[in-house]
Every structure is written in structure tokens, then in C-alpha cells.
Amino acid sequence: MEPPKIWRERRGKYLVLGILCQDCKKKSFPITQYCPHCSSENIAELKLAQTGKILHFTRVSQTAEELMFYAPYIIGLVELDDGIKVTGQITDTKLEDLTEGMKVRMVFRTLSKNGEEGLIGYGFKFVLI
């Protein structure tokens, strides 16, 4: 990832902020200029819930070079306690130990490594509670 992109996405990737529309009062993720539900510009940042449950999960063994660092890993579709759904890795566990509906909590981890000299990409993953 290039520095401008990392800098631009920092509030979503690092702080896990979404938006709360001040007009229709609906939440959404990621941060956008307009509310995806009612197209209002009247939005405020919102910290997402830090815990949730696994809806789907599977193994990834082949992906882009910069993401291969931890492969094979588990990728999950998680529904947070505030109803927002996000995609994230489920780490520090084994595939055979997981079942749908398990409770997870968000952790801050390394996501990508761009060679020996490139920038490291950080973001959120999930661990079992």
C-alpha cells in the first residue's frame, strides 16, 4: 500500500470508525461522504462496536504477495453488536475450533507486509472471546 492511501484510510483502518447519519439515524461502515441509506451529507463519525459474532468463516491459502505473510489464515464475516457487518480475519485460533455464531472481539494487528522495505499495513482482526 502506498503512503497516501494508508494516511487517507487511517480513521477507518486504525480507529474502526463508521458513520451515523444525523438525518435518518442509520449507521454504516466504512466512512463515506454521503449516507448510503438516505444520501444525506449530514453525517457524524461513529465508533463501531468492538465485539460481535461470526456469521461465516473459511480458510484462505492463496492471495496477494503482501498478504501471504500469515497464510493460511481464516477470514470471517462478523456481525458486530451494533448490527454493522464487517469482513476480517479471525486469528489466534484454528479452523476446526470455530463454529458459526461464536463471539469475537476486535484486535489491532498487522495485515500486510510489502517486502523487506515496504510499509506495513495495520488494521483490525478478531479473536475469540
Binding site: 492463496q62 492471495t63 469482513t87
Partner: protein, 393 residues
């Protein structure tokens, strides 16, 4: 809507597979020049070239259409249409619109892809990452395969779809592919082999995804007025429906993972345009890049009730010469999937069937044929309907 009628008057297709000896433009040129020859018209009559390709810009030369037109010695407008890995059907849709509008009368449409140049599979994974939500799915660690795994899980959970039913999709398509001379894999694979294969992204197994390969396909399309004023044109197939729709790119933003909304909307629009229903379709080429892809397609296109796709497939209701013959070409699975070429290759199969040139995979009594081309996990879907009827409504 414009009443102007649109016909496909010629097609050309290369053998799909690994062609290390061909550079990207040579493959594209082969298909384009075959299509022009098949149309029997002078190439100077072609007014414009629309081409679709997902990765041509990563084959160094971003504008493959220009090289292909140089080899065909054409000085016409060349436009690349981008609908991700559904760019072939996207280009066809735009060409259809251009003729329908009345501005143009004869257009060449080309779909092309050269994927064997990417020897490192991580490069292709990254390219496919661009067809899903790159920032919030791919960079988080998801891949196209893992997202299709979730869609498969959702369908299995909601409708009790079994692994055997899923595997019966590629079993059928490989069987059809045996008789397709341009298919990458012309051999059958047993149900047991699919079931016993190692799981790469559970429940998706090693042999389930279509392979990314090289290939090009082209068609020449023209208005009815053009066809009537050129007696050299011998064969024509009418395009009666052309539609595109979209959906949220990320699975985490969708209401359901067990259907593709974009397929439902696009097919509804295409049926309305053609003034027919799903019951009138005899043959269909659908996007079986993963087994669940075909099951979702045959349900969302209205051939079977939601949830019955797996059962219908294992019962043989989609095999050759059944009520609805699905993927007579072998589909993406056996023919191979050169992204941008796939949408045109699907249309080529329908034309071959309607012109009775499909040899051992020939389906009898075809009324209408349909194609469905999917971008990513369904962020965009194109549906085309071609008619074999002598006199249309």
C-alpha cells in the same frame, strides 16, 4: 424504446487454454478476424470496435484493441469497456445500445484476456481482488474464492444444498466440455473426484473453481437495415434482450448471500425487453466460476424455484437436451475463464447452437438462448437473450 432490430452476423473464437506462444494482441486478432470472415462482409463496413478485458492493462499494453485493429488494418473508433471480469458482456451490451440508438449499423465486439503471462498466482489473486471490495474485503484478507465459499455456505444452510448437488454442476459441465473443440479441459471428472479433493476454502474444493486462462472471442453485430442491404450475409441470430444491473460490491453490505440481486434485476429487464419469460429459454450459458455460481444463476434467472437449484442439477434437469440445457459449452469450468473473453464466448456458444454448428453438444428445438455474465461476486451482472424464432413477436 427503439424498435430497431439487432443481429449477430458473425463470430470468431480462439482455443481457450495456456498459449505461451501467443502475445495478447495476436490472440485478440485471431478472434476478431475470424468473426469478420464469418460475417462474410468487407471489413471496411465495420464502423466501430468495442472490446472488453479485465487485465489487458497489466499485460503492459493497455489498449489491446488498437493492436488487433492494426493487424486487421482498420481505422475505426476503438473503445475499451470496463465491467471487471464481465467486460465481454459489457462491451456487447454497449454495442447493442449503439446500434439500437440508430447511430451505428455494424460493430465488432471483442473480448480478450491473456492470463498465462502471470506465472505467479498471487498476481492474479490481486487482480481478482479488484473485482471485490478491494479496501474492505481484499485488504482485510478475503479473496474471490473465500467470498464464494461464504455464498456456498449460506445456500447450504438455508436450503439444505448438499456437497453432492454442488459437485454435480462441474461434473455436468465437464461432460459437456468434452464435445467443445475450444474448451480448455475436454475430459470428464467424476463426482467422487470433486468430493474427495482437498478443500481450499471450505466448502470449496481444489477442482471447483474455473481456471483462469488465455482466450479471445469476437462477434460482429448489425442492424436489420444493414443485414437487409447486404446480401452476402448468410447467417444471422437476433438479439432480443440485453440488460445490466448492479448490487453492493461487498458481501457484508448485502441482505442475503444466497441469491444475486443483480441477476434477478437484469434478467427481469431482459425478459421484458424480449417479451418472453424464463419458461421460453431452451439453452443458457451461465457464470459457473464456482459451483454455487450456476446454482444461484438457475434460480435467480427463474428457471427453478429459489433453493431448488442443487436438486434440479443432480436430477439432470439442466443437462444436455433437458428442458433447460445449461452450459452446453462446458461453462467457465471446462471451457476455461479468460475473464473479458468469457461474456462473448457465452454468446458464441448460443449462436453455434442456433446455427446448428454445435456438433455432438447440439440441442434440438431451441427457441431462445440466454447468457449471464457476473462481475466479482455479483456487483454487476449482464443478461443477454438471443432468439431462434423465425418471426418474433
Amino acid at each position: 424504446m427503439s424498435k430497431r432490430e439487432v443481429y449477430v452476423i458473425g463470430y470468431g473464437i480462439t482455443k481457450f487454454g495456456e498459449h505461451y506462444e501467443l502475445n495478447p494482441s495476436s490472440s485478440a486478432t485471431q478472434a476478431l478476424s475470424k468473426a469478420i470472415q464469418d460475417a462474410k462482409i468487407s471489413k471496411d463496413l465495420i464502423q466501430s470496435l468495442y472490446f472488453g478485458s479485465l487485465v489487458s492493462n497489466r499485460n503492459d499494453q493497455s489498449y489491446i484493441g488498437a493492436e488487433a485493429s492494426r493487424e486487421c488494418n482498420l481505422n475505426i473508433p476503438i473503445t475499451k469497456i470496463d465491467v471487471g471480469n464481465a467486460s465481454g458482456a459489457g462491451a456487447f451490451h454497449q454495442a447493442f445500445i449503439a446500434i439500437k440508438s440508430g447511430l451505428l449499423d455494424c460493430i465488432a465486439v471483442l473480448g480478450t484476456e491473456k492470463l498465462s503471462d502471470f506465472v505467479n498466482s498471487s498476481t492474479l489473486e490481486k487482480i481478482l481482488g479488484g473485482t471485490i471490495d478491494y479496501l474492505w474485503e481484499f485488504e482485510q484478507g478475503a479473496t474471490l474464492t473465500s467470498l464464494y465459499a461464504w455464498m456456498t455456505q449460506a445456500h447450504m444452510k438455508e436450503f439444505n444444498t448438499t456437497m453432492e448437488q454442488l459437485a454435480s454442476v462441474p461434473v455436468k459441465n465437464h461432460k459437456n466440455g468434452v464435445n467443445n473443440p475450444i474448451a480448455q479441459f475436454r475430459r470428464e471428472i467424476s463426482l467422487k473426484r470433486f468430493l474427495d479433493a482437498k478443500r481450499i476454502s471450505d466448502p470449496i474444493g481444489r477442482f471447483d473453481p474455473a481456471t483462469n486462462c488465455d482466450g479471445s472471442a469476437a462477434v460482429v453485430i448489425a442492424s436489420k437495415e444493414f443485414v437487409e442491404s447486404h446480401s452476402e450475409i448468410e447467417k444471422k441470430v437476433k438479439v432480443v434482450g440485453s440488460a445490466q444491473s448492479s448490487d453492493k460490491i461487498s458481501l457484508h453490505h448485502r441482505e442475503t448471500l444466497s441469491s444475486l440481486l443483480a441477476t434477478q434485476i437484469a434478467s427481469k429487464k431482459a425478459y421484458e425487453m424480449a417479451q418472453i419469460s424464463s419458461k421460453d429459454i431452451s439453452i443458457a450459458e451461465v457464470h459457473d466460476s464456482y459451483p454455487i455460481g450456476e446454482i444461484l444463476a438457475i434460480e435467480d434467472l427463474g428457471f427453478f424455484q429459489k433453493g431448488d437449484g442443487g436438486k434440479a442439477t443432480i436430477e439432470g434437469k439442466t443437462q444436455l437436451n433437458s428442458d433447460i440445457s445449461v452450459n452446453t459449452s462446458g461453462g467457465l469450468k471446462a471451457r476455461g475463464d479468460p475473464f473479458g473473453a468469457t461474456g462473448i464466448a457465452q454468446i458464441v456458444e448460443i449462436i453455434q447452437q442456433m446455427r446448428r454448428e454445435a456438433d455432438k453438444r447440439q440441442v434440438d428445438d431451441i427457441k431462445y438462448g440466454l447468457t449471464q455474465n457476473v462481475m466479482g461476486t455479483g456487483a454487476s451482472v449482464l443478461v443477454h437473450i438471443l432468439s431462434n424464432m423465425e418471426d418474433d413477436k
